[in-house]
């Protein structure tokens, strides 16, 4: 069923493992240039935003999108998380996601 689909949380280091797949990235907005953004998620990620994205530099953001072959992300949904995001916590969740995949990821 379409319910059994996951968008695993990743950081920069995992991009290459998910080319062509939908992923979730939580990071800090480093730079915004029109519909392109540079995000810091334990490494630098390039994101191509859609029209509905309303991000602010230095704020946290949760992006859901598809990983392009060049390891940039085509963003389908973005949520501004404001300040106060604990990035160590978010990165820990990414590590845990991959350490205990059966709890988090549908492999297909």
């Amino acid at each position: 069923m379409d319910n059994k689909s996951s968008t695993p949380r990743i950081t920069c280091a995992y991009l290459s493992q998910y080319v062509g797949k939908l992923v979730t990235v939580v990071g800090k907005v480093v730079q915004l240039r029109g519909e392109e953004a540079t995000i810091d998620a334990d490494g630098t990620i390039h994101a191509f935003l859609n029209r509905e994205a309303h991000l602010s530099a230095n704020n946290g953001v949760q992006l859901i999108g598809k990983v392009n072959p060049d390891l940039s992300i085509k963003v389908l949904s973005s949520v501004d998380l404001g300040q106060g995001v604990d990035y160590n916590l978010a990165n820990a969740v990414v590590e845990v996601t991959h350490r205990y995949k059966p709890l988090f990821v549908y492999e297909n």
Partner: protein, 284 residues
Amino acid sequence: MAGYGGYGGGDGGGFMSGSQQGGSQAGGSKYADESLRPVTIKQLLDWEETFPGAELAIDGHPVTQVTIVGQVRSVKPQPTNITYRIDDGTGIIDVKKWVDSEAQGGEDGGSGAGAIAPDAFVRVWGRLKTLGGKKHVSANFIRQIEDFNEVNYHLLEATYVHLFFTKGAPGSGGATKQEGGGGDNMFVDQGYGAGGGDVAMGGAGPGGGNSAMQARLATCSRNAQIMCNFINNSPGGTEGVNLLVIAQGTRMSVRDITNAADELLGQGIIYTTQDDETWAILDY
């Protein structure tokens, strides 16, 4: 309170009130067995109902109520309930919040059902139900999340509880103190007992390992010493202790632990066992 209060609104309103006197013990749920498990949606979806009415069990333990945290993908108001599709990144599930039309205006502010919009993050308390082969969560309570860190916290908590049930409490079976009770407890008596709580004096003390190892440990950073002590005091044996367990017990961040591990590996104090994130003390 949340556990018992849920009976009122949970299954179509009012039905459960009679059984609370314990008359219908056949209902099967004694209050002592009620539990509230933090889970990922994938854990719920993966549960196979072996026969209709089978009791939900995850990691071998029966589960009555669950709590999930996710993003709202859609909101569909219906005559008797509001159906939300919730996505937490591990799976998607329908959550039905029953609406008592008479109590519309008077609902305790907590549920705030009318104010939840798509893309908001919410926390749900409820029970897993199956209807015609399809699963959904019948929600007693649904609340918008104010601090995004709660989303990540929930995922870690769900993992912790999963590990608790599959591998046992951290540091259990030994003289070390109980789970989550603050990393400091672990180091007060065992191992480096000579001076009491001060871990930094890794040089002295009859703790695990020989004196050469102590000398090398003393040259390491404080984080490395804390991590080494923790592994020493854990019942990992030759299997080793995993990064997550260390994180729980010492409250160090994943990055700190990884750096400390590199230090200790370089010094030949620990070695990896099952995988790159499980270590044991190198004792020879």
